[in-house]
Amino acid sequence: MSERLDLKAKLGLDVFKPALEPHIKIKQGMEKDPRLKPAIRACPAGLYSENDKGEVVITTDGCLECGTCRLVCGTEILDWNYPPGGTGVQYRFG
């Protein structure tokens, strides 16, 4: 096998250009909505997690902009957009 990398290390290989604001937000008051849970397992970058208050939180740093969370959680609970032009992941191989 090739070297074993955890998810953070894999994302560390990619080129990301920072944006000023997160491009995906959980709508206020929706943090405990059960429809957020599937994103914890499905997000290929592992950006969703549950905190000790039972709320789902997201970090958008490392987002691969695939859209999986938009499909599984829906736009009722996520404010979902692509990051502004020239920011976010920039694939060199693709």
Binding site: K17, G67, V72, Y82, R92, F93
Partner: protein
């Protein structure tokens, strides 16, 4: 404020295919791309079938940054503890013109964008389109930040989610039903090492698909494509399976488990992962094709859901190139009458119907339902593996005759279930 003839949203294969076709015909074309450069947001598993699109883009691909032409095809049925592999190679795959190539999209799209720019088309990168401009129900342009950009017609080539189609009212936000998630690692390896490990010569390439345990018995599979000096390796899973707890582990961990399989590990030993990427794939085929056009707008490529997975071949990129080409043809025709309304733009659908794009999607429209059969991903891999295990085994004592060995697995109820499943397969 300048007005363009055509604004193309997205410099992927659909958008660039359209721009290339439109170029040199006196049109003012503007391509908007949200990435740092065309290709920055795009990824593929890996392989482009060129045969269907060569005639649409004569001579274009001769100097393209294609990685390897595929001469070795393999499909592995993976059970938990064993696998059965079918390999195919043939002189026809070595003859020119080669049928398919492994590619890396950031390189390929960037190269194609340069060919488009050479023909006089303006491509603006780092621009995200935020909305469409409507006038009396007609799309007359796009909003990008504070900029209002107007055009006779907008071509939405903005990928699988197509937020532009949503803003234009051509589709609504969707659930996970007809989509899969692809995750890939590009793993650097010396080209000589690749050639040795995959039994290749020069620029020959291998394509391998894996079904069964790699997605824990659910829809999808693993893939491996050889590039010049890297391999593209990853998995595809149904997004519903990923979301609804039907997979025992988190989705990213499936890639690691795949890499650790004995069938894979030796092939990538010593390789260094260079990039990690993910993308959504439209899997519904003809039945989930999206609206192709509206008043003042056309939709092409993944944005229109133009992709086709029939198990052995997984295609999308040539549909994007071709649909972009036919959208451009439609626009050129519509320009003659200066009319971009729905009846005029319906020519796009007819052009697609007359081409491989909708002929293939239509012919294979039963495929998503058939290959969605979970037995293909769990039951059969274990069954086939178990039969092979017994056929090949030489025990300490006497070996059972072959026919009873196999019949032990293929009970009457098993044969009946197989018959039913094969009836489904006959629809493909």
């Amino acid at each position: 404020m300048d007005k363009f003839d055509v604004i193309i949203v997205g410099a992927g294969l659909a958008g660039l295919g359209a721009a290339y076709t439109l170029a040199g015909n006196g049109f003012e074309v503007l391509v908007l791309e949200r990435g740092d450069y065309p290709g920055a947001k795009n990824m593929t598993g890996g392989r482009l079938y060129l045969n269907p699109v060569r005639n649409l883009f004569p001579d274009l691909f001769e100097n393209a940054p294609l990685e390897r032409f595929i001469t070795n095809e393999g499909i592995s049925i993976m059970a938990k503890d064993r696998s059965v592999t079918l390999n195919y190679s043939g002189n026809e795959l070595r003859d020119e013109p080669h049928q398919s190539y492994s590619i890396l999209r950031s390189k390929f799209d960037r190269w194609l964008s340069e060919r488009v720019e050479e023909k006089g088309v303006a491509i603006l990168s780092k621009i995200r389109v935020d909305d469409v401009i409507k006038d009396n129900g007609k799309i007359v342009g796009v909003l990008a930040g504070a900029d209002e950009l107007r055009a006779d017609v907008v071509l939405a080539c903005d990928g699988v989610l197509s937020l532009v189609s949503e803003k234009a009212g051509l589709r609504s936000p969707e659930g996970p039903g007809s989509f899969a998630l692809g995750i890939k690692e590009v793993i650097s390896l010396e080209s000589g090492v690749i050639n040795e490990r995959f039994n290749l010569d020069g620029d020959e390439g291998a394509a391998r698909l894996f079904v069964g345990e790699v997605t824990r018995g659910k829809f999808g599979g693993g893939f491996l494509y050889t590039n010049k000096d890297s391999v593209s390796l990853g998995i595809v899973v149904g997004i519903e399976d990923a979301a609804e707890d039907r997979l025992p582990i988190e989705v990213p961990a499936l890639v690691d488990a795949f890499k650790e399989r004995l069938e894979i590990a030796p092939l990538i030993r010593g390789g260094i992962t260079a990039e990690y990427s993910a993308h959504i794939i439209p899997e519904g085929g003809f039945r989930t094709m999206r609206n192709l056009y509206g008043n003042g707008i056309l939709v092409a490529g993944d944005a229109a859901g133009l992709a086709l997975n029939i198990g052995f071949t997984v295609r999308g990129m040539e549909f994007a190139l071709a649909s972009g080409h036919f959208a451009a043809q439609t626009i050129m025709k519509a320009k003659q009458t200066r009319n971009f309304d729905v009846p005029t733009l319906s020519m796009y659908r007819r052009l697609l119907e007359d081409s491989f794009v909708l002929k293939d999607l239509r012919n294979f429209q039963e495929t998503p339902a058939v290959i969605g059969n979970p037995r293909f991903f769990s039951h059969y891999p274990e069954l086939i593996g178990a039969i092979m295990k017994d056929v090949y085994s030489v025990p300490a004592g006497p070996k059972e005759r072959l026919y009873p060995t196999i019949r032990k697995h293929l009970t009457l109820s098993e044969l009946w279930a197989l018959f039913i499943d094969m009836k489904g397969v006959m629809k493909i």
